[in-house]
């Protein structure tokens, strides 16, 4: 086979390879979404983070506005300190509340933000004061069982 034919085929091969990579990056990985935009860091303390992981989404009204960048244990208050990067396009009031929520019944955990009414916006390095921990299924079940037992006891006492 002569040189020109080989060149053409190798060119096609390399182009197809890069097309594959581009397909993976754009269509599968959604490169355009987040990684390049500018962010600011906000912290929040939670009594229990459940199964929250690094890179979990931070959503407000269901829209992804940032990602969790760090989860740390605070040895003074015995609480978890979660740091997340929020996109600078999205500004939130200072009294915004953070909750740890679960997408679906068995889905991933994420941080949900609910905007407050303060006129001052969050800045880099601010800490959210209003937080709500993850719901731990075991606690929920034991609460339910206790209240059920209490109800039964009340019913018996009335008889």
């Amino acid at each position: 086979m002569n040189r020109a034919t080989i060149d053409v085929w190798v060119g096609v091969f390399v182009a197809a390879g890069f097309a594959g990579l581009l397909f993976l990056a754009l269509k599968v990985g959604n490169l355009a979404s987040f990684s390049t935009s500018q962010t600011y860091q906000v912290q929040a303390k939670f009594a229990n983070i459940g199964g929250l992981k690094i890179r979990a989404p931070v959503k407000s009204a269901g829209v992804v506005v940032g990602r969790v960048s760090e989860v740390r244990f605070d040895n003074e208050s015995y609480e978890a300190i979660v740091t997340f990067n929020l996109d600078t396009r999205f500004q939130f009031p200072r009294d915004t509340a953070a909750k740890i929520l679960t997408s679906g019944l068995l889905g991933e955990q994420y941080v949900g933000l609910e905007a407050g009414g303060d006129g001052v916006m969050l800045k880099q390095g601010d800490r959210l004061r209003l937080t709500q921990s993850a719901v731990v299924l075991e606690n929920l079940i034991s609460q339910f069982l206790f209240s059920k037992a209490a109800e039964d006891k009340d019913a018996k006492d009335k008889k």
Binding site: M1, R3, I6, D7, W9, V10, V12, F13, V14, A16, G17, F18, A19, G20, L21, F23, L24, A25, K27, V28, G29, N30, L31, S33, S35, K53, I54, R55, V64, G104, L106
Partner: protein, 272 residues
């Protein structure tokens, strides 16, 4: 120790074991030295890039069909199997995530690497081994042409360049296969298939790490292939056993390296 002479059954066995271990270590040392020499003498392969392009044609372009067809079928099987399991938990929309993540992280680099080792790696070994058996390598040395720079290095670089491209095509083809089966055949919602995939596949964490994996596999496979070829006994039998060794060793190397790389890349997020 004095008993060694009397219990004649054990000593030769130990001797043979020791000999085998020493031979392996000697070969590993030789292979490493060969690798270094090859990298140092890659100048010709990169300067006269036409040599490398020719080898990319033989290693990469000719592996294209097997890679694309296997990728398509692997993706289609993933679509079928994944749907079967996911619909039991009522989350068949997550099919896109399953297909994309398993292909991009694992199956793409690994299966493409295994196919590349048996399709292109064996061919490289056989070619270099035959060149040695027919004394073409010795002839080059006589003409003061460095066979490592002229024959080995272009093949090595061709393999290193081809492998990531082949793995990317394998993954892309596999995702297309999963899409065909999942969306077109079974009827998973098309929007959910793509959007869930895009939401959970990360360009840096998943795709870039997959590409790094395939580059590492490319280096390992072609290194083993050119070394086995260059080190082959210059007989018909020697070349055939070198070809077998290439496929066996590089398959094992791919699987072992895959474990190490996966442990390094994908468990860090949770542990930290």
């Amino acid at each position: 120790m004095a008993e060694g002479g009397r219990t004649g059954g054990v000593a030769p066995l130990l001797e043979r074991l020791g000999g085998a271990v020493t031979a392996r270590i000697w070969r590993l040392g030789f292979a490493s030295r060969f690798f270094g020499y090859m990298l140092l003498h890659s100048g010709t392969a990169l300067r006269r890039f036409q040599l490398t392009i020719r080898e990319i044609y033989f290693a990469g372009v000719q592996s294209l069909i097997i890679i694309l067809v296997s990728g398509l079928f692997v993706g289609m099987v993933l679509g079928l199997q994944g749907y079967d399991t996911l619909q039991r938990y009522g989350s068949s929309e997550a099919l896109g995530i399953l297909v994309a993540l398993s292909l991009v992280r694992e199956l793409g680099p690994v299966v493409a690497g295994l196919l590349f080792a048996s399709r292109a790696g064996s061919a490289i070994t056989a070619e270099i081994g035959l060149m040695k058996a027919t004394e073409q390598i010795a002839a080059m040395e006589m003409m003061a042409v460095d066979p490592i720079a002229r024959v080995v290095a272009p093949r090595f670089w061709a393999g290193v360049i081809s492998m990531p491209l082949l793995a990317a095509m394998f993954s892309a083809m596999g995702i297309f296969g999963g899409y065909l089966v999942g969306v077109k055949l079974i009827g998973v919602d098309e929007g959910a298939f793509w959007s869930q995939m895009q939401a959970s596949v990360d360009v840096r964490e998943d795709i870039l790490n997959g590409v790094i994996k395939s580059i590492v596999f490319g280096v390992a496979v072609t290194w083993i292939a050119v070394f086995e070829g260059y080190d082959a006994q210059p007989t018909a039998e020697g070349v055939s056993s070198a070809t077998t060794r290439t496929v066996v060793t590089s398959s094992l190397a791919i699987l072992a390296l895959d474990f190490v790389l996966t442990a390094l890349m994908f468990t860090g997020g949770n542990a930290r």
